[in-house]
């Protein structure tokens, strides 16, 4: 196992783990969002949103995962301080809030295609799926109403697919057919995986390789993608955490290193 597989009691200046790189990529996804509700599924996005709030996006709103907005979201692991509650946000108000557009959610994707159509509802035919997953949850409404990004903890060709089995989160090709009024809130911002970061900043909004995590080769990315990615020019490396960011992650946000259990560190 690697130095970070268990606890994070070690140095704060050592080489960042792959999980920490992913968390920083998730934090970067929120850059420029300002005063907006940041919601996350998965450990790396949860660490990333907290990191963004503690550093360059202090105005982000975050919930306790249930129904209150808290100014000091509890750490992903380790002891939690008493919450500083800012507001009440029960489920019915969540729908009001998200349909209003003031939110950026990072959802998980069991499957995602080149236009950002996402599935976490089920695998196989919907009438009798081979694997029932989460169900539609709020993905259709989220993706059409506000900024949506996706997190894939283990990128393979069975996740980055030519065609998703069922569309829960709406991608760019489908949104384009709906017209501008219906999709004023649609903004699939980015996809973060354990290998790289992707966005849709291409003329027809096909998925583009935006940056590649340190230690990952383009061949590894391509080998784990089931469709043709847009790969233009020299691909930058996903930025590494600063010493201060590493300290925040390891001492304050995730002292038990849950992050490194979600994302395998390359040996």
């Amino acid at each position: 196992m690697t130095q970070a597989a268990g606890s994070n009691s070690g140095s704060n200046t050592g080489k960042p783990t792959r999980g920490e790189i992913c968390a920083v990529a998730a934090a970067e996804a929120f850059r420029g969002n300002g005063e907006i509700l940041a919601s996350c599924f998965g450990t790396a996005p949860a660490v990333g949103a907290r990191l963004a709030k503690l550093t360059f996006e202090p105005d982000l709103l975050m919930t306790d995962g249930v129904c209150t907005v808290v100014d000091n979201p509890s750490p992903v692991s380790g002891p939690a301080p008493a919450p500083i509650v800012e507001a009440w946000l029960p489920f019915r108000t969540i729908f009001d809030h998200l349909w209003n557009g003031n939110r950026h959610v990072i959802m998980a994707a069991s499957q995602i295609d080149r236009f950002g159509n996402q599935n976490f509802a089920c695998i196989g035919p919907h009438a009798k799926p081979t694997a029932q997953l989460l169900g539609m949850r709020g993905a259709p409404g989220n993706s059409i109403s506000h900024i949506t990004s996706y997190w894939v903890a283990s990128q393979t060709k069975t996740v980055f697919v030519e065609k998703v089995d069922i569309v829960s989160g709406v991608g760019y090709d489908r949104a384009a057919k709906l017209g501008p009024a219906s999709t004023r809130g649609h903004d699939v911002r980015c996809v973060i995986s354990n290998l790289a970061v992707y966005d849709f900043q291409t003329p027809d909004h096909r998925m583009r390789l935006r940056s590649i995590h340190p230690g990952v080769g383009i061949d590894e990315v391509v080998a784990n993608t089931g469709f043709e990615l847009v790969i233009e020019g020299k691909i930058p490396e996903t930025r590494s955490p600063t010493d201060e960011e590493l300290r925040l992650i390891r001492e304050q946000i995730d002292p038990k290193g849950f992050l490194n259990k979600e994302v395998a560190n390359p040996s």
């Binding site: 029960p90 029932q132 259709p140 109403s145 709406v170 489908r174 017209g179 009024a181």
Partner: protein, 287 residues
């Protein structure tokens, strides 16, 4: 009017093929004592509308559900409800799977006696492909920068024959009070239904409700309720704060039975094949 009744009397009103709504959310403040009574009954072919938790898993397992209208089915601390998954993967139920917000919209439409409410939730997604009965509607007002109105999802009203909810406190007349962090959509379930039954942890004097929590906790008024059932521990094993949290050990044991026929049989004999709710509560205490 004294509306006190029992789980058995309430469930005796159900008929095969009815549409029922179940309040709560996931594994939170579910009217489980009523669900357990449905398991004891002979009713079948139900359409169940809910933000699903173990209520759905148990009803699926007992073969009570013909059609499920839902956005998700989760045990919260266990993200996927294993008995529901099993039923889905066997193709045992018709799955009217919606966006969570569409479900709210359908309940709100029914509670306002509207045929539908427009929403963008669902547009472009396969929610519409798997629910061919859901139609689109064009706005009569031109969209910004267009001569045409926007095309929206016309979420149909989810009209319920019977709604079941669980509250922390109530009085004999059907005023109800939740004391936890979230009212969920229980008021909408009641307003969307022809018959409404509310189980409560404790029936108290109307005047005493003021001592239990602020005015804003009084979300259910007596026009929304036909029968009140006193059911201490009635939400078990889902959470019902501040009266009790989720019984995680019990829930884990329940979830584990999905993979093991013998374990399920033992669970069923110990906790479900019982005469009534009092026997269930006794069995739970005996663990």
């Amino acid at each position: 009017m004294d509306k006190r009744t029992t789980e058995r009397e309430a469930v005796s009103e159900l008929r095969d093929g009815m549409t029922i709504g179940i309040g709560g959310w996931g594994s939170r403040r579910k009217p489980m004592s009523i669900v357990r009574e449905i398991l004891r009954s002979s009713v079948k072919d139900l359409t169940v509308v809910t933000y699903g938790g173990p209520d759905v898993g148990l009803l699926c397992n007992a073969g009570k559900i013909k059609r499920l209208v839902y956005g998700f089915v989760s045990l919260d601390s266990i993200p996927l409800e294993p008995h529901f998954r099993k039923a889905r993967q066997a193709g045992a139920i018709q799955a009217a799977e919606l966006d969570e917000g569409m479900l709210q919209w359908g309940l709100l439409a029914a509670s306002h006696h509207l045929p539908f409410l427009p929403t963008r939730a669902g547009l472009g997604s396969d929610v519409l492909a798997i629910n061919p009965d859901i139609k689109m509607v064009r706005s009569p007002y031109p969209a910004l920068g267009s001569s045409q109105g926007e095309e929206l999802v016309a979420m149909p009203a989810l009209e319920l024959d019977v709604a079941f909810i669980h509250m922390n406190r109530g009085d004999v007349r059907g005023n109800g009070q939740y004391l936890g962090p979230d009212p969920y959509f229980d008021d909408m379930f009641c307003r969307a239904a022809k018959r409404r039954f509310m189980s409560v942890e404790k029936i108290i004097e109307t005047a005493a409700m003021a001592n239990e929590g602020p005015l804003q906790t009084r979300v259910i008024n007596r026009t929304m309720v036909d029968g009140v059932i006193e059911a201490p521990g009635g939400a078990h094993f889902t959470e019902c704060p501040p009266d009790y949290g989720r019984d995680e050990a019990f829930q884990s044991a329940y979830a584990a039975t999905a993979k093991d026929g013998a374990a399920w049989l033992e669970f069923k004999q110990t906790y479900l094949d019982l005469e009534n709710e009092a026997e269930y509560q006794k069995a739970v205490r005996k663990r």
